[in-house]
Symmetry: C2
Subunit: 500 residues, 2 copies
């Protein structure tokens, strides 16, 4: 606490800068920023600048200044309001994920993720506990951005109580500027002490986060412009020069740690099967049940995310088709996941999945998913050990956000054995219109069966959470697998509907 307080006072005592001094500092600052922007453009880095603080401290002006000083074609500015109808359909962080800058770009964020928790706590709409929970969510969000190639620059623009009063009085004394005082501004000023208290806590909590706050006094125009620009310059310079090194655990120490959970899949009874006639009758009944449940879920605004993973030829596509056959086309989307495109590679690896979350009341079926990070990307070396090793927690956090927002999340691992895969590969290869489904890559993956097996074991052991458990599906008999998938989805939907 003490440390944050000191910083706070230092910031508020930032000396004034005269017009003359500013004129001397400005050209060099601008030149450096422009050059760094050029360097950024050719890098894998993206920069997100988050502005927070009190009204009247000059946040908006600073955003305009940066847009004027740098090349606006490399800058994306976003300011959030409660009027974003699309955003209401999704978890609260969705809109920030949507707007994250691409690699090479600078994103400027106003009234973003700190805004609601701060105001909520100031006006006592959030309890201290809820407030702390929000701050924890923010920390996780920032940590995963930072870990995955985004430089976060957090700028807190502050005014002391007297200075804020003077700003409000100055504005209200002239009919020409009175309009700039937002509704609630005086009330907020009356809450000044609450503001400082909540701000303190935010600053303090970020001491543990991946990026510290830059505290800037909004009192003097030139001083605040120089302070923000300097902080941005320094942070970009440092990060471009010294990209953080991320070292993951070695293979041997990782394997040792995970030893106890290896081999669990081998315990599955893959001989389970279903008689063709029973299958047909069950399928029909389950499809009707699913339609009725999904109809209710749509009315109740319950969204569903279904994840399908499994070996090549495990039967993911077939299970998905039996699921959607009975649904209205408006109610669902099937998203097949292939290798990421260039624009997807220029973002956080979860970005492309956030994009496809279902609207309220709908279903998205992911044919392969974010688990690619800890399966194919791990095994094939597309992700570094540090990257896939931290992905387990990142994924848990992502899914927790869905569940916290009343999404139904079902994750299916469909398991077949090696002989069954071979039989299905050969069958496909012998049918001209199915041969395209089998590529050299599939045969290569097959050779790494055991390596994949371990990766799957690790995945299940580290991401099998109460809120989003894995369902292991015995896949040797397609009928059995399809019915198990359908039954699970129906049961989970029913459970969610009962909770309402």
């Amino acid at each position: 606490m003490t440390k944050a307080k000191d910083l706070w006072e230092d910031a508020l005592n930032q000396p004034k800068i005269s017009k003359q001094e500013f004129k001397e500092l400005e050209p060099e600052l601008r030149r450096e920023l422009v050059e760094l922007q050029q360097e950024l453009r050719n890098s894998n880095l993206s920069v997100a600048v988050v502005f927070a603080g009190v009204d009247g401290a000059g946040k908006h002006e600073m955003v305009n200044t940066l847009n004027a000083w740098m090349d606006p074609r490399g800058i994306v500015t976003r300011a959030y309001s409660s009027k974003d109808l699309a955003a209401k359909e999704y978890p609260s962080f969705w809109k920030y994920w949507r707007d994250l800058p691409t690699a090479g770009q600078l994103g400027l964020f106003l009234s973003a993720w700190y805004s609601k928790p701060l105001l909520g706590r100031v006006h006592r709409k959030l309890s201290e506990n809820e407030f702390q929970k929000r701050l924890k969510d923010i920390q996780e969000f920032e940590q995963t951005l930072s870990d995955n190639g985004t430089l976060l620059v957090k700028v807190w623009m502050h005014l002391d109580k007297k200075a804020q009063l003077k700003r409000l009085e100055d504005l209200s004394s002239e009919p020409e500027t009175e309009w700039q005082i937002k509704p609630g501004a005086w009330e907020n000023w009356g809450m000044y002490d609450h503001f400082v208290e909540a701000s303190d806590k935010i600053i303090k909590s970020s001491a543990k986060a991946s990026s510290p706050w830059v505290l800037v006094s909004g009192k003097h125009r030139y001083a605040r412009q120089v302070a923000v620009a300097t902080a941005l310059r320094d942070a970009m310079k440092e990060r471009l020069k010294n990209p953080p090194k991320q070292t993951g655990q070695s293979k041997s120490s990782w394997d040792k740690k995970m030893k106890s959970c290896r081999g669990s899949l081998r315990g599955m009874d893959l001989s389970k099967e279903l008689d063709k006639e029973i299958y047909k009758s069950k399928l029909k009944k389950l499809q009707i049940r699913l339609y009725q449940l999904q109809h209710k879920a749509q009315i109740s605004g319950i969204s569903t995310v279904l994840v399908f993973e499994g070996q090549d030829a495990a039967g993911k596509g077939g299970a998905i088709r039996r699921l959607v056959q009975g649904l209205d086309a408006q109610q669902y989307q099937v998203i097949p996941i292939a290798a990421p495109s260039k624009i997807e590679l220029a973002h956080h690896y979860l970005w492309r999945f956030w994009k496809h979350l279902p609207h309220r009341g709908r279903v998205t079926l992911f044919d392969r998913s974010w688990y690619g990070r800890v399966l194919v990307e791990r095994v094939e070396g597309f992700a570094q050990p540090a990257e896939w090793q931290r992905a387990f927690e990142e994924i848990n956090s992502f899914e927790k956000q869905l569940v916290d927002n009343n999404y139904v999340v079902c994750k299916f691992w469909i398991q077949i054995d090696k002989d069954m895969q071979l039989a299905r590969f050969e069958e496909r290869q012998n049918i001209p219109y199915k041969a395209w489904k089998i590529t050299d890559e599939d045969w290569r993956n097959r050779e790494k069966w055991d390596v994949y097996d371990n990766a799957v074991d690790d995945m299940i052991s580290l991401t099998d959470k109460l809120q989003a458990p894995w369902v292991l599906v015995e896949g040797n008999d397609k009928s059995w697998a399809r019915i198990k998938v359908l039954e699970t989805v129906c049961d989970q939907l029913e459970k969610a509907l009962k909770k309402l």
Copy 2:
């Protein structure tokens, strides 16, 4: 009319296909589709398949079939409902633009752009006039897609009155399938003759459109699957083999046609200027006026699109900054337009602008815009003559949709003379932090001054429409230009608010 009727009857008399025949046809059809999809993936073409027709004719089943037969990773399926909150913020075609397939992809569209006009006319919610207007809008939409690299395959799936009755009776006779009958299905059947009447008109109107309808009887499952798949195969094969040749007018015949409107810019009085003190006081007052108007516009849901075009260094950025200084950051977005990215190049050239349209009640300022198609892309040869020559009408149609949806559209051409540009280039080049703004390209463009001049003349003469007129801004004096821009925006907003 006769021709359409004949087609109709032919379609309904499609012979049944036995299971045995189907089993013989299916493998070859699937193989061909998969191969064509592979060819598509490596082409600049995108394919949009639109399904329309009566309930129960098997549209949804067909979409699932195509997803099963082809590689779903190259297919995007979209079905529309009135519950898409985001779409309500924009003109009605926005959601289709958002979802258009990328080059190399296949898009399957259900309950899409034909759905509302058809149902609206059947239930007499649309007058014949309104219905015809909607069909005309659709024709324009399809024409511009088709012209710009999308193969449209339009599938009308039909049932005769008796067959539809039987389908409904079959479904309702079993408790297991009764749920499949949608609310209003019986009522719709009662309107069967209205359906046929409106469908006739749709089919007929498309005779003039870029792509004819494929009429398919939904009566027999195998027959309809074969009919749709065959039509898709044939259309793709033909288009991939014979890409349409588009020949534009030659330079000389174009110049001849446009001769009378050339030189208009030269008539502008660029000596207009504003005293510095008057400028300052006017600027302040106009920014307040703008803030107040925009506040009302936001409440009233009036969206605004501002387009800034002008020579390099004409002062677009400066004018934009003066406009947004007084606005809330949540109310606007500045979108600087640079060369299109790869993903943008894989779409219709208007796609990236549709993406950035403002939400209801907000403002988007485009720093350069879709007019690049008829300026830089024309002059530098990035667009073929046929492409930029038809772009004028495409742009008029785009802007008309905005205006029809109560958008305020202001288009500014800021004009400076050659000496002023030179002076500003040199000034920029001598200031280290501004030198990046001047590139070799800017000097090269400058050498083509007269060529650009002609392109601007053509642009203004062909896109200066009553609903979205050009405002020519004398830009030699920056103060004059900025005030003129601000005044125009205020006046237009005021006019729009008065109309409510």
